[in-house]
Subunit: 121 residues, 4 copies
Amino acid sequence: MILINLDYQGRLPIYEQIVSTIERYVALGILKPEEQIPSIRELASNLGINPNTVKKAYDILENKKVITSYSTKGTFISKQIDKVLENRRKEEMEKLKEEVQLLMHLGVEKKEIIKVINEGD
Amino acid sequence: MILINLDYQGRLPIYEQIVSTIERYVALGILKPEEQIPSIRELASNLGINPNTVKKAYDILENKKVITSYSTKGTFISKQIDKVLENRRKEEMEKLKEEVQLLMHLGVEKKEIIKVINEGD
Amino acid sequence: MILINLDYQGRLPIYEQIVSTIERYVALGILKPEEQIPSIRELASNLGINPNTVKKAYDILENKKVITSYSTKGTFISKQIDKVLENRRKEEMEKLKEEVQLLMHLGVEKKEIIKVINEGD
Amino acid sequence: MILINLDYQGRLPIYEQIVSTIERYVALGILKPEEQIPSIRELASNLGINPNTVKKAYDILENKKVITSYSTKGTFISKQIDKVLENRRKEEMEKLKEEVQLLMHLGVEKKEIIKVINEGD
DNA sequence: GTGGTCTAGACCACA
DNA sequence: GTGGTCTAGACCACC
């Protein structure tokens, strides 16, 4: 059972939310290589959304080589997901840099930022 | 003269780009309390967009208490902008913490994170 | 079907009339939490006004957390409307106190004020 | 020196704010019958607004028999202001009734309302 | 000139 | 079908 929280209000389309949630779970090791994930219909039913929406998300994930679908057997996390992980890290690192930039724009000193990070668990 | 670069492609609506640009300028101290900003029509004309779009941006900024509009006089940066800025800093600091958490989950060490921050300009 | 009477003459803009009517219906329990309200286009058509005007009203209501809009699904009364209502009651209670103060300044006795209130339907 | 707080943002035009402030001062006895009030130019200068705006306010007040202008001597509060006072009381009484109605719509009981009024100083 | 309101109508992504 | 964005242009009161 995959837990996906959908935000129906925000600017992100549902299918993108599914994509990024699954990518995050893979990156975090919650979903492991070769592990089977729910069928399109099953996930759609669980989330109470249209199967077409899940289909679109799975198509994108397959395109990104995050998952692989075998028409008879089902859908699985790809064997090779190292590249996925690496990309993910880079993306998040960029986000971090942007956030730091923004904070400095807001008048927070770099010293203060680093202090807060060091305090975290 | 306020310089606002618009991206017509991305997912961010134009009015939000105006909002965040002005917020950034306020945060940076480029726009100061009680300073007058361009009239709706003027900014719209400068940016080559419709006055209604600028109006929507100004409405949001007014709602956030970043600016104040006086009919027949014009639009000004709020007198008491400090509290707004302080709240903003807190919010962004929380986001930063979350981002750091995520990166650590992804296997990036805290040492590495701080190094990257120190490298930034 | 929501019944909204519009006054096109007065100083109150149409969108504010929509806002306060819906707020009143929520306060009275006629519109209940999670209940769907008419789509922007539908209400606009019913009232014989432009959809943009309804949109503006809905934007304000959403900002006040009275309603929530889900793209492609529709617009609904917020789940947690109680807190909003409670705040509203407090605000109006303060206004009442001020009004009573003013009347007493004008030479109306408290006894008289209470009498008038008791007479009301 | 008359103290008038102007709200440049609200829906009420400046001249109406002047009118109602002076009426309130008369009703409260702060401005007394036959008392002289500032000239148009003087008040305009004090408030930092256009003399035309003050003129418009004085015209309305004169029309309502609240003030009287003698072209050579200046402008004075009218001798007979009882009717003004009485009208004012009626207006405020109506406002009170509306406020009570609104509170009852919001689910506050009449008993509660009266209790709060009695508690006030 | 300013901000505020409103209309008419277009296009978009999404489900 | 839904909400969201944007344009073009009108009219208003106020100053």
